[in-house]
């Protein structure tokens, strides 16, 4: 564990502790939901991370197709994995929150619906990568999917909004916030964002090492 942490990675610890402190101690309990609302600090931050991760996949995919540089392919793969991870956390925390406050595990509100579809799109991306042969071809195909999948997300979101326009659900995310809660949310988002970039660095490095091992193995044959 220590070998993985580079010098800036240690920053995560004080930032994380501060965010936890703000989220659980400083921020007041919400009017109607009381302490159950605190899950929002992690839920929103995860959702933000997921979108960040997929933006990176999109950009890395374009850069890969233009440069054919292995680095961008590794970034795309790593970011997609992180994206699926954070999307899963978003969905699960959202479901727990919904169940505890409104007694429903799932509602078809536009944001939840889009997040679910997002999850499927990038799980599909990972399945494409894991089941395809040929390094370069696989990287190209995945890049194509990374681009078109990302372009589809706003279309899915708008369609989901118009889809439920005739039965507007009460937006479960409407939470009245005061300054302290805003601070806690901000700290949480910063922590998660830092976490994303550190994990991205680790995962890209891991992929580099994997490729080197594969090359060495070939040489030993």
């Amino acid at each position: 564990m220590v070998g993985f942490m580079k010098k800036w990675d240690w920053l995560l610890i004080p930032v994380g502790v501060l965010a936890l402190y703000l989220a659980f101690i400083v921020a007041p309990p919400e009017l109607q939901m009381k302490d159950r609302q605190r899950i929002m600090y992690f839920h929103v931050a995860s959702a933000w991370n997921a979108y960040l991760a997929f933006i990176v996949v999109f950009v890395a995919s374009i850069k890969y197709l233009r440069s054919s540089s292995r680095h961008w392919d590794r970034v795309a793969l790593s970011s997609a994995e992180l994206g699926v991870f954070f999307t899963s956390i978003t969905l699960l925390s959202g479901m727990v929150w919904g169940r505890s406050v409104w007694n429903k595990w799932w509602v078809w509100d536009p944001r939840l619906t889009t997040t679910l579809i997002l999850w499927f799109i990038y799980v599909g991306y990972l399945l494409l990568r894991y089941t395809s042969e040929g390094d370069e071809r696989r990287a190209r195909l995945a890049a194509g999917l990374g681009i078109i999948g990302f372009i589809d997300v706003p279309i899915v979101h708008m369609s989901a909004m118009w889809w439920s326009a005739f039965h507007p659900p009460g937006n479960p995310m409407d939470v009245l916030m005061d300054g302290r809660m805003g601070m806690a949310l901000g700290a949480s988002v910063i922590t998660f964002t830092l976490l994303y970039f550190f994990m991205l660095g680790w995962r890209v490095r891991l992929e580099e090492l994997k490729e080197r091992v594969a090359v060495l193995r070939e040489r030993l044959r």
């Binding site: 071809r137 681009i147 589809d152 889809w163």
Partner: protein
Amino acid sequence: MDFLAKTAAIAWKDAVTELRAKEMFSAVFIFAFLVAVIFSFAFNPVEHDLTPVFSGIMWMAYLFAGTLGLHRSFVSERANEAIQGLSLIPGDRSAIFFGKFLANLGFMIIFEILLTPIFFALLNVGFRGGALFLAVLAVATVGFTAAGTFLSAMASHSRAAEVLLPILLFPLLIPVVIGAVRATDGLLAGDLGPALFWLKVLVAYDMVFVAVPLVLFEYLLEGS
């Protein structure tokens, strides 16, 4: 002109190969029919009137059967590495995508012409909506076929190609499913509003999903 000539050649090649084979064509047809029947069973037609779920059943039949048909679009090129031969055509290789897209579109439309009346009869639903209904059918099919042809190229190289294509395709098609079902529902109930609205969404989707693959396809084939 050159691009169109290449597109036409590839579309013709795919169409003729398919028509000569014939088994795939009839199998997809039967499968679509069967999907509608089995969904009908699932919703208990004996006790319920299935008119409210007619649109859903019809579009699911086209979605599932169409996906199977699209699968062979690029898988057939894996034999003898035919895709490499295709890649040797000079100039713009997105003609390969466009040609296959048009051939697939032709097949889907033939299926729909044959099957739609059968579905109306099977579920005892009265046909309403006239030309607008056909427009919805056409526009949604274009979107489905464009996305499906493009994704079929990607999935064809996977060890799990048959199941990967629907996994990749269905999430991307959500806007088409939403739009097509809503529009069809509205038309069958005599309400033009939803159809006119969703038709615009579907046209926008079509433009994106024909244009983006045309741009990206060249990059996908590089290094083949």
